[in-house]
């Protein structure tokens, strides 16, 4: 038996190999992660990555996989490569048997009667689900501070944010509480947390992973994707969850190219990699810019051709995003009214009309950021304002798509820092929504255009020693390119660092205890 401390640090791919070889059981692996969660997640100064821990069911699935493996034969042979490898699921994705809150009081205690398509696929692959991870309420935020259940802390520095909205999934993976996790990315909610926690996160091509069962924030932008510690691990998970789903009308009919093969056969020789002029430089932290330049240097040495591209309309992307996203969200969140499920609050006084019950429920159930976006979106869609706001934003969206189209005629893959800064301090931007929104300036264009993006660790910023993320972008349906380039850059960087970046992260167990002792 492997030391559990080592076990939880193994990549998903390595775990899968050990499981297949019988060197370790899924129950051992799953238990090791559950122990880790128990050790670092709870308490005053815990990471708070998990909103719900699903120990019993996870161990049962693990035991089932172990039994199948032990029995051998066709059923053991038929096991998915990730069978027995545990995973955490963002609490925006519905699961039978576990509560789904979306990080909101309005869904506290709600159990979904159905599984999201991606969850069905995890179950089909027999991956034990460790639990549900924390997020900004309804995925609205860039810091996970807008969760109704308290913020998640960044494992690199517990006083800092883990990014958002998927801070829970990124922190869980970074803190070795899970080898893999699912996230959702509407404007950067997978990639930006990946960047600030030193993990890998991928927003797949819009439509390549079913959204059925992901509680919608902005339907035309949302996409479920993998969170992991390595590029190959994300490719493995992406392949489990991807593919057509007849329950999602926006699901692409044809499968993507082999992503795992792309991650395994990484090669950038002769590849044209485009630096987006508008997505670095001014407004980006010096340490971020430095690590970005290092990455370019390494890619050049590996044989890539670095070109510069201009995407002039990206300067309007953030503005367009903050009209389209709240518009769709205002409608998507209308269903939370206390009539059929979730929280119901009765007005304290006055007549008990349906309007007043809905109003009291929504007033009590939604947090400030959610209300802010509902109000914004309701306004943007109002008669007389629609053309000026929602209509104009849709035009910008088309222009952003054209910028990408033009850029991809001269570059095979685009590159930028994932976020303009490293992780900021908890509370630092809570009272300044605009500053918070700016965190997503580099990730939003991909959502507007539906193209895939991957963030991987680029090293630590000189000034604060915190992780920096490098973002790769590819044309729609060319997700394989991200894995191909990402795997190369990852291996060059790890060679330079002498191991994975997360090996440089503080020893969390001690850190949690030390902080608590203070």
């Amino acid at each position: 038996m492997t030391d559990t401390n080592e076990l939880i640090r193994l990549t998903a791919a390595a775990l899968a190999e050990k499981l297949a070889a019988g060197e370790v059981t899924s129950v051992e692996v799953t238990q090791a992660y559950l122990d880790r969660i128990a050790a670092v997640d709870g308490g005053e100064r815990g990471v708070n990555a998990f909103l719900h821990v699903n120990a019993e069911e996870a161990l049962a699935v693990a035991a089932e996989v172990d039994a199948l493996r032990a029995a051998g034969g066709a059923e053991a042979e038929a096991l998915h490569v990730l069978a027995g490898v545990p995973i955490a699921v963002k609490d925006l994705i519905v699961t039978v048997g576990q509560p789904t809150t979306a990080g909101s009081k309005i869904l506290e205690g709600w159990y979904s009667p159905y599984d999201a398509t991606v969850v069905e696929r995890l179950r089909a692959a027999k991956m034990p689900i460790l639990g549900k991870t924390n997020l900004d309420e309804f995925a609205m935020g860039s810091s996970t501070e807008h969760s109704a259940y308290g913020p998640t802390r960044n494992p690199w520095d517990l006083d800092r944010i883990p990014g958002g909205s998927g801070g829970g999934s990124a922190a869980a993976v970074a803190a070795f509480e899970a080898p893999l996790a699912l996230g959702t990315d509407t404007g950067g909610s997978i990639r930006q947390p990946g960047a600030v926690t030193g993990t890998v996160g991928v927003k797949p091509t819009y439509g390549s992973v079913s959204r059925y069962g992901a509680i919608a924030m902005a339907s035309s932008l949302d996409q479920i994707g993998p969170v992991s510690r390595t590029v190959l691990d994300s490719a493995l998970l992406h392949q489990v969850i991807g593919g057509h789903d007849s329950r999602d009308s926006t699901s692409l009919p044809d499968p993507l190219a082999d992503l795992v093969a792309a991650a395994k056969t990484g090669n950038v020789e002769g590849l044209r990699i485009g630096i987006i002029k508008e997505l670095h430089g001014e407004g980006y932290q010096a340490g971020v810019e430095n690590r970005f330049n290092d990455a370019l240097e390494l890619l050049k040495e590996a044989g890539a051709e670095i070109v510069e591209v201009s995407c002039p309309n990206f300067q309007y992307a953030l503005g367009a995003y903050y009209l389209i996203m709240p518009s769709e969200a205002s409608s998507n969140l209308a269903k939370f009214d206390g009539v059929r499920y979730g929280l119901r609050v009765l007005p304290e006084e006055g007549p008990m009309t349906i309007e007043r019950v809905m109003g009291a429920t929504r007033a009590a159930g939604f947090g400030d950021e959610v209300k802010r976006r509902i109000i914004l979106g309701t306004y943007a869609l109002s008669a007389g304002y629609y053309d000026a706001y929602y209509g104009s934003a849709q035009k910008v969206r088309t222009l952003v798509q054209r910028d990408f189209d033009a850029a991809f005629t001269v570059a095979d893959v685009l590159i930028s820092p994932t976020a303009p800064t490293t992780a900021f301090r908890l509370g630092e931007k809570l009272d300044d929504p605009l500053a918070m929104y700016l965190n997503d300036v580099a990730t939003i264009p991909a959502n507007l255009a539906g193209v895939p993006g991957l963030s991987l660790p680029g090293g630590l910023a000189d000034e604060d020693g915190l992780p920096v993320g490098i973002q790769l972008l590819a044309p729609a349906r060319e997700d394989a390119r991200l894995y191909r380039v990402g795997a190369v850059l990852e291996s060059l960087l790890e060679a330079k660092w002498g191991g994975p970046l997360l090996a440089q992260a503080p020893a969390l167990g001690e850190l949690v205890e030390a902080k608590e002792a203070k």
Binding site: I93, V94, T100, A102, L107, W110, S112, P113, Y114, A116, R211, Y212, G213, A214, I215, A216, A218, S219, S220, S246, R247, D248, S249, T250, S327, E328, S330, S331, A334, K335, F336, D337, V339, R340, Y341, I354, E355, M358, T378, L381, S382, A383, Y386, Y390
Partner: protein, 502 residues
């Protein structure tokens, strides 16, 4: 002014010119709902035909029902519409507990069918063309039942029950352009238009088309303008007028009400009105104003519907004969006069006559039986003629017996009563009741002699050439034979006896 004041219809027509507009909602009879795989079935236990999509559970997504699109295209084609090459759904946002998502998914500015027309034949044969603005797809809402309170409305109710079985049932909403120039025929046109739409969707087989079940629902818009003025007046929209008669009455009432309002010098309020079948009046519903902002935007969870031209043409080729064309054809085939045919149509027995003819009866025999015998019985029983359950074969058999002289018309009518009472087949009833035309001339001649003796003056008239007076003698003979004589033969024998040639 008194809000209930109305002018007489005639007075209203003297001063004003009505403009109508209709929104007819047609519930499609697809197996499953518009955006979910839950069954589309009427009348089941509440909240049984629902799944997570219909309940608007977190995370669900809609998927368009292809059969509903097919039905919608058929309706569009039958209404002579153009079919969009690409069209999208939109979200109509409003909070109401019968709408599980708090928005209705509906087509908004991109209907699947647009720019059509329907030629409506009025009772006197006048054809009036109604222009169709659009036919678009949408989903139905759930059904609320308000408990407690006096009105059955949500205001004043103690609580409300909601049944989501109907939520997500596919609807096609057919919207007319403003209908001008109907004048005093407006109420009749209103009824005829809705009847024509109902007939079309029934004929297409895309809807059960039962108004009493809400399969076809009509919102009627009415406005008035003084004669000679081009600009439309302010309209009212009377909601859910759910029978053909009610459509006619509601339009008539609203014309009378508007006229009274305009006469008083006050403006008509743009509002929805509720129709009350018991009093045949409308009452004020909700004021329509700019405050109604549904914040429409394209439904991002659905991709555009793009019906290929090939598919549209395939569907066009499968369309059944339009009802109006069919009527024209049948009238010509059957050789009925315009009046005869209109009576048949108005009596609602056209299909039955067609089936009876197909079973072997002649067109005149079929008409005689249905119009002369069955319609009257249906009226007495207060049911549709088709609901009496008379089989075409029964009529053919009765007609044959009469023709062969086995029974006469009077007996045949009696036999029909027996059939309807469930006593058996016509032959069995004739047997059981001992009905048979007396064909032996002996007893007849005796009866004729008696009848002639009883009415010598009539006998003289006939002898004098007034053959039409023969009825009295024939009647006497029939009475004496308790109707069992063959009236034709009786007539022959009388004439023979009196030495008169007819």
């Amino acid at each position: 002014m008194n809000p209930d004041a109305i002018l007489s219809f005639e007075e209203a027509m003297e001063k004003y010119d009505p403009v109508l507009g209709f929104e007819v909602h047609v519930e499609l009879n697809t197996k499953t709902k518009m955006f979910s795989s839950a069954p589309n079935v009427f009348g089941d236990e509440p909240n049984t035909n629902v799944n997570e999509v219909d309940l608007g559970m977190p995370g669900v997504l809609p998927v368009v029902n292809k059969a509903a699109i097919e039905s919608s295209i058929k309706i569009g084609l039958a209404l002579n519409c153009k079919i969009a090459e690409s069209c999208r759904f939109a979200r109509k946002n409003y909070f109401y507990p019968d709408t599980p998502k708090n928005f209705q998914t509906s087509q908004y500015d991109e209907p699947i069918a647009y720019d059509g027309y329907l030629d409506i034949e009025l009772s006197d044969g006048t054809v009036f063309r109604v222009e169709i603005e659009r036919a678009h797809m949408e989903e139905d809402a759930g059904k609320l039942t308000h408990m407690g309170g006096a009105t059955g409305r949500i205001q004043g109710a103690d609580f409300s029950l909601v049944d989501y079985n109907r939520a997500g049932v596919p609807l096609v909403e057919i919207v007319t352009k403003p209908i001008e120039g109907a004048g005093s025929r407006a109420p009749e046109l209103a009824k005829a238009y809705v009847a024509a739409v109902r007939e079309i969707v029934k004929n297409l087989g895309v809807s059960d088309a039962k108004m009493e079940r809400g399969n076809v629902r009509c919102d009627a818009n009415v406005s008035l303008r003084p004669h000679g003025r081009e600009r439309f007046g302010i309209r009212s929209e009377t909601k859910n007028v759910n029978s053909l008669r009610a459509v006619e009455h509601a339009v008539r009432y609203e014309i009378q009400r508007h006229a009274a309002v305009l006469d008083s010098g006050e403006p008509v309020i743009q509002e929805t009105r509720h129709w009350h079948e018991d009093t045949r009046t409308t009452t004020s519903g909700r004021a329509k104003s700019d405050a109604d902002d549904y914040r429409y935007f394209p439904e991002p969870d659905l991709v555009p519907v793009v019906p290929s031209r090939e598919w549209v043409e395939e569907l066009r080729a499968t369309l059944p004969e339009p009802p109006a064309a069919r009527r024209k054809r049948l009238q010509a085939d059957w050789g009925y006069s315009d009046l005869e045919f209109r009576d048949v149509v108005n009596a609602g027995v056209m299909d039955e006559i067609e089936e009876t003819i197909a079973a072997g009866a002649s067109a005149s025999v079929a008409r005689k039986w249905w119009m002369g015998e069955i319609v009257g019985r249906a009226k007495n029983a207060d049911v549709d003629p088709g609901q009496l359950g008379v089989q075409p074969a029964t009529i053919v058999e009765l007609a044959r017996m009469v023709e062969e002289g086995k029974i006469n018309n009077k007996m045949a009518s009696e036999v029909l009563d027996g059939v309807l009472a469930g006593e058996g087949s016509p032959a069995e009833i004739v047997e059981k009741r001992g009905l048979a035309v007396v064909s032996d001339d002996g007893p007849l001649l005796e009866a004729i002699d008696a009848a002639l003796a009883a009415q010598p003056d009539v006998a003289d008239k006939i002898r004098g050439g007034k053959v039409q007076a023969i009825g009295a003698i024939v009647g006497g003979v029939m009475k004496a034979t308790r109707g069992q004589a063959d009236a034709g033969r009786v007539r022959e024998l009388i004439l023979e006896k009196l030495g008169v040639t007819a």
